[in-house]
Amino acid sequence: MELVLATAIGVMTGCGVWLILRPRTYQVIVGLSLLSYAVNLFIFGVGGVKTNVPPILVDGVPNSTLADPVPQALVLTAIVIGFATTALFLVVLLASRGLTGTDHVDGRNDPR
């Protein structure tokens, strides 16, 4: 389980970093999305990976068998904020495409 999660985070981060270094705006936005998925999974992972346990404190049940609710709350907030900022970036990307006529991040096609 841990291995699968860690591999997923690693692969997504790697792809994301490669994509945000690309010159096309669409690649950058996909890269940022992949990175934010990786980060969300990472936040989820720091609470400890557990399956099928509730994040609810019950008398008599040891804490170690329960899931940590805080990362779940954090990841929810991070998803919402990440979604909103990605949508905003998409609008800027379209505005840039409209104003410069190219989807290059610097607004020009010719390599210097």
């Binding site: 980060v39 905003l88 840039s96």
Partner: protein, 543 residues
């Protein structure tokens, strides 16, 4: 401590938030109403932050911990007002008044929802200054950034959209680093409350402490991007010089937010204990590199906007360097420098637009943006109303000279006093009779050189603008545009005249910061308010 004064702590967040929501109910055509509401909000913020500063520095022992939802510290989110956050709140409020009044002349009309975004930016800034919780800090940081994306693009045009896209991409990546840092810290320390975290650091076992420090380092990179430390600063001069003048004026404090958080967290988490001094070297050398890069940039700048952008870097570099040294007396000088340079740079950004208006460069950009936004049905209220300045060139020239004096740190204005306080503290760090070390000489030389570079650049730009201008066209400047600039410059003058009390305040601030126990105990011992109808306080939050 109870009573209504205690609730003032949350006012700097609530007032702009409510006003921002309120402003959405008004149509864009009701510009005057929107402007008045927005202005009222910033004036209230000035009054509130002045009151908070007075209460905080007053003789009574003021309890600055505000428990949101009435939950005790590590469980609920806290707002903490101390001397440093009160100072930053006041600085932000003063800048916002100046920038807003400046924008009323024409800039607020070149795009939609300017006032709403402006108020939301203030929500984010004030929230980040007040919060005592790392994840809450992230939320306020994002509120501020989201508003700043909109404000940077305000006025549109290819230049702004291009700079804005780079700015957004860099800051989205920084936000992800922020999240990684926060979650690493949570994973190792098990808390996100800053005070609780500081108290728990000694108890973290060594193998996990390394991970915690890695988390803090990743978190620090997010703030250093905001503060503009070399090599994370290449976006800054472009973005700041592309922004419209009032927006750049308020952005001047955003880079100081990065500095504020780094100061707060290093003093609190790494002031003492097993992780003491973590990251100090990075700040010192990073600050030196930033200062050199900024100085070269200031010398190389052709356009005034870029000159101002690189001045932000010089200011950030100086401050980061001092944070790296982390010595009480130098730090209090640096706080004065922070206030003085923020006021100066903000005034300078707004002044540039006025000065360049006569040279057509600014006017062309403005004309293009007006065209791009396409306000065809607009009745052009900016032409004709308002009073035009008499003796425009003389007043612009005096303001420009004052900015130059402040940026280069010459007497008699506050830039000199701040730099003098820092430099004399640096020279006097050793015992009496012991000459300063070579490292100190390097720092002192760099600070003085950066001042000389600013002086050369400002003189060159001033001669080109005011003396050798061939067209001889006098820019059309409205009174409400030059008054905010003069107001900010007047504040630096006031800071000079009242340098004694100001320095005293900075000294107290640094002294309370260098004793993190005060902060930690205040937050941990803050008790929830008992419910007035007798219900025990533990139930109060669960309703």
């Amino acid at each position: 401590m109870s009573g209504w004064t205690h609730h003032l702590i949350i006012a700097p967040i609530l007032v702009p938030l409510v006003v921002a929501a309120l402003l959405l109910f008004f149509d864009e055509r009701q510009r005057v109403v929107k402007a008045m509401i927005s202005l009222a909000s910033t004036l209230i913020l000035v009054a509130v932050s002045l009151a908070l500063l007075r209460i905080e520095s007053g003789p009574n022992d003021f309890d600055g911990v505000y428990l949101l939802g009435n939950w005790a510290a590590p469980f609920g989110i806290v707002l903490v007002l101390d001397a440093l956050s009160a100072l930053m709140l006041l600085l932000a409020a003063l800048l916002s008044v100046a920038a807003l009044v400046f924008s009323l002349a024409r800039w607020h009309a070149v795009g939609a929802h300017f006032h709403t975004m402006f108020q939301l930016l203030l929500v984010g800034l004030n929230g980040a200054f007040l919060t005592g919780d790392l994840f809450n800090l992230f939320v306020f940081f994002e509120v501020m950034l989201a508003a700043s994306y909109g404000l940077l693009l305000h006025g549109s045009g290819p230049l702004r959209v291009k700079a804005g896209m780079h700015y957004i991409a860099v800051n989205l990546a920084a936000a992800l680093l922020f999240l990684i840092g926060v979650s690493l810290i949570y994973g190792t320390a098990g808390t996100l409350n800053m005070a609780d975290l500081a108290a728990r650091i000694p108890d973290i076992e060594p193998d996990r402490r390394m991970l915690m420090e890695a988390g803090a380092g990743v978190l620090g990179i997010a703030f250093l991007i905001k503060a503009g430390m070399w090599p994370l600063c290449f976006w800054l001069p472009t973005a700041y010089s592309a922004a419209s003048a009032p927006v750049a004026g308020i952005f001047a404090i955003m880079s100081k937010l990065g500095i504020y958080i780094i100061l707060r967290l290093t003093m609190l988490l790494f002031g003492e204990g097993p992780s003491a001094g973590f990251g100090a070297d990075v700040l010192l050398y990073g600050g030196i590199a930033t200062l050199i890069f900024g100085t070269v940039g200031v010398l190389a700048s052709q356009a005034l906007g870029r000159l101002a952008g690189f001045s932000v870097l010089v200011s950030s570099g100086t401050l980061l360097m001092v944070l790296g040294i982390n010595d009480g007396a130098i730090s209090s000088g640096a706080l004065l420098y922070l206030v003085s340079s923020t006021l100066t740079i903000s005034a300078f950004f707004m002044l540039i637009e006025l000065v360049e208006r006569g040279q057509d460069a600014g006017a062309i950009v403005l004309a293009v943006t007006m065209e791009a936004y396409g306000d065809a049905d607009d009745d052009e209220p900016e032409e004709g109303d308002g009073v035009t300045m008499p003796g425009t060139m003389a007043i612009l020239g005096i303001c420009f000279a004052a900015c130059g004096i402040l940026l280069s740190g010459l007497p008699p204005l506050s830039g000199f006093i701040a730099k003098f306080a820092m430099l004399s503290a640096m020279m006097g760090t050793g015992a009496i009779g012991v000459p300063p070390t070579a490292a100190v000489w390097v720092l002192v030389t760099l600070v003085i050189l950066s001042g000389i570079a600013a002086l050369i650049s400002m003189t060159r730009a001033g001669i080109r603008t005011f003396w050798s201008s061939l067209e001889g066209t006098v820019p059309r400047v409205l009174v409400i545009e030059i008054v905010p600039v003069m107001f900010l410059l007047f504040l630096t003058l006031a800071l000079t005249v009242q340098a004694g009390p100001a320095m005293q305040y900075m000294d107290t601030t640094i002294r309370s910061l260098s004793n993190p126990r005060i902060y930690i105990d205040a937050v941990r011992n803050a008790a929830p308010v008992a419910d007035y109808d007798g219900v025990s306080s533990t139930n109060a939050g669960s309703k």
